[in-house]
Amino acid sequence: MKDISALEKAYKNDGAALLAVCRRYVCDEQTAQDMLQDGFVTAWCNFDKFEDRGKGSLKAWLSRIMANTCLMYLRKNDLLKESREITEAEYRLVDPGGLAEMVQKMDSGTLHSLVAGLPPDERTVLNLAVFEEFTHKEISRMLGISESNSATRLHRAKKHLAEKIEQYEKR
């Protein structure tokens, strides 16, 4: 039996966090709002498949639905294509020295915006690998790319993000 009150509670309590998940995948605010609404519609249509495993399980389930909805959007609009090939010079390890402290000092809203500002292909892999904790094998299946390509994109996303953080701190 579908219980719309459970989704109402989730929308009111966790709506902002779920919207933040959408913003991480799509940088446009209007599109993120659309993704949230589409995600809730999908959740409602498939609510009978949800298994309540205690506190937080509904939020986790909804987060996954939001991520999937955004992935479908990115795939349909062909936004997952690799923006450019990585050069040998770029393929060196990001120097983490001092970055941890910088990140520690920054507020979460700014960090969130910096992640959302990455190119779509890099942002998507970073989201899936870091925040959703998927393996490269799983990501390669989800995005239709090779595992090595997934690893390359992740590396490049980290590098770009580190540059953005350093740039932000210098200003």
Partner: protein, 405 residues
């Protein structure tokens, strides 16, 4: 994956995970209405698909059942009817007319032979009164062919002069022809033979009816695709400054209008091939801007089918088809939320489907038909948004008329 993360990534993850930005723009009441509307739409689609599947199954199953029944029952039925209504049953059907003819006067035999020949060939539209056929037969007895010839012997004066040898010979030869055709005696030659389906060529005109999608909000996000703002690479804030939410864009698809002509050739094996030309018009309206898009596609369906059942007036059949369609005309408002695309760049729309149909011959060469059809429209890159891009499975009722040659 975890071991690859550096310390700063762990801190980043923790902070970003805990981030909660602005609240959603839409109120819960709006959200609930949207969810319930989507639920109704899904349920409606399930009903449509269920109804389509039921129609197709019923037509196919009915056709197979009628076909089997017809095949199994025809010989028994014809002989049973002949036994009941025609008492004259000769042990050798082909020999009986010859024996009889040998005993009737030459002139009468010629007449009888003429009738018999006519009956065996085209089935001339001569309606035989039932008593004229059955009464002399009853007098003769069921297994005595000679008995009937006795009554037709020339020179024998009986009180039933009207049941002459000519009548008897005619009735017996006609009865034999009746039995050969497996029909009852009353209307053995009443109807002209209709054109059989095998080897028949048909031209049809048709129209399709389906359901539109009155309020399709799921597509709203697509409209934003060309307008995703690109963040300058040197902007350290990325897309920090989100725009305030604006009214949600919704697409409304009218039921597509489809019409065309078809050409069909029925082979003697029961299989038929069908092709034709079909035009389909799509109309999409976007709210709240009121922008409109109209597209006209021309397609060439190619299909194969099988006649499951047929008699003189009714036929039941099932078929499958494939149709590539090309956009041949289109226009959209200047404020339509997708970039205008050159018509030549719009990819072909491929579809395939299955249908079951029934036709009814209303007059001689003309038949009308109805075909519930379940189609699947394949997705294409860069295809404009239509009802088929949102609902790839689509149920239609195809109705039309055929001219059979």
């Amino acid at each position: 994956m975890k071991k690859d993360n550096t310390q700063w990534i762990d801190i980043l993850k923790e902070k970003v995970d805990s981030y909660e930005g602005e609240k959603p723009a839409a109120s819960w009441e709006d959200m609930r209405d949207r969810m319930l509307a989507a639920d109704r739409r899904v349920n409606m689609r399930k009903w449509w698909v269920t109804a389509a599947a039921a129609c197709l199954t019923a037509l196919v199953a009915g056709g197979i059942f009628l076909n089997q029944k017809q095949n199994a029952a025809l010989p028994e039925e014809s002989f049973a009817d002949a036994d009941e209504k025609i008492e004259v049953v000769t042990s050798n059907q082909t020999a009986a007319p010859a024996e009889l003819l040998a005993e009737v006067p030459e002139e009468n035999a010629q007449i009888a032979g003429a009738h018999s020949g006519a009956a065996k060939t085209a089935g001339s539209p001569v309606e035989m009164p039932s008593d004229a056929v059955s009464e002399p037969s009853a007098q003769a007895g069921p297994s005595d062919a000679a008995g009937s010839s006795d009554s037709a012997e020339p020179g024998q004066e009986t009180d039933s002069e009207e049941t002459s040898a000519e009548d008897n010979a005619e009735s017996v030869t006609n009865d034999a022809a009746v039995k050969q055709q497996g029909k009852t005696s009353q209307f053995a030659f009443a109807e002209p033979q209709k054109k059989q389906r095998g080897g028949r060529f048909s031209i049809g005109v048709n129209g399709q009816f389906g359901n539109g999608d009155a309020n399709n909000s799921k597509l709203a996000s697509y409209s934003q695709a060309p307008h995703v703002p690109s963040v300058p690479k040197d902007n350290p804030y990325g897309s920090l400054t989100f725009a305030m939410a604006v009214a949600r864009t919704e697409y409304h698809h009218a039921a597509p209008i489809s019409f065309g002509v078809s050409f069909r050739y029925d082979m003697p094996s029961g299989i038929y091939a069908e092709s034709g030309l079909r035009f389909t018009q799509f109309l999409t309206t976007v709210t709240p801007s009121g922008a409109k898009q109209a597209l006209l596609y021309a397609g060439v369906p190619v299909g194969l089918g099988y006649n499951l059942f047929s008699n003189d007036n009714i036929g039941v059949y099932a078929s499958g088809y494939y149709m590539p369609a090309k956009c041949i005309a289109g226009r959209e408002s200047t404020n339509y939320p997708t970039n205008s695309t050159n018509r030549n760049d719009i990819p072909l729309q491929h579809s395939a489907g299955i249908s079951a149909g029934a036709d009814y011959t209303v007059w001689n060469m003309i038949s009308i038909y109805a075909e519930p059809t379940l189609s699947y429209y394949f997705k294409s890159e860069n295809a404009p948004v239509t009802i088929f891009t949102e609902n790839p499975f689509y149920f239609t009722l195809n109705v039309g008329a055929r001219f059979n040659f």
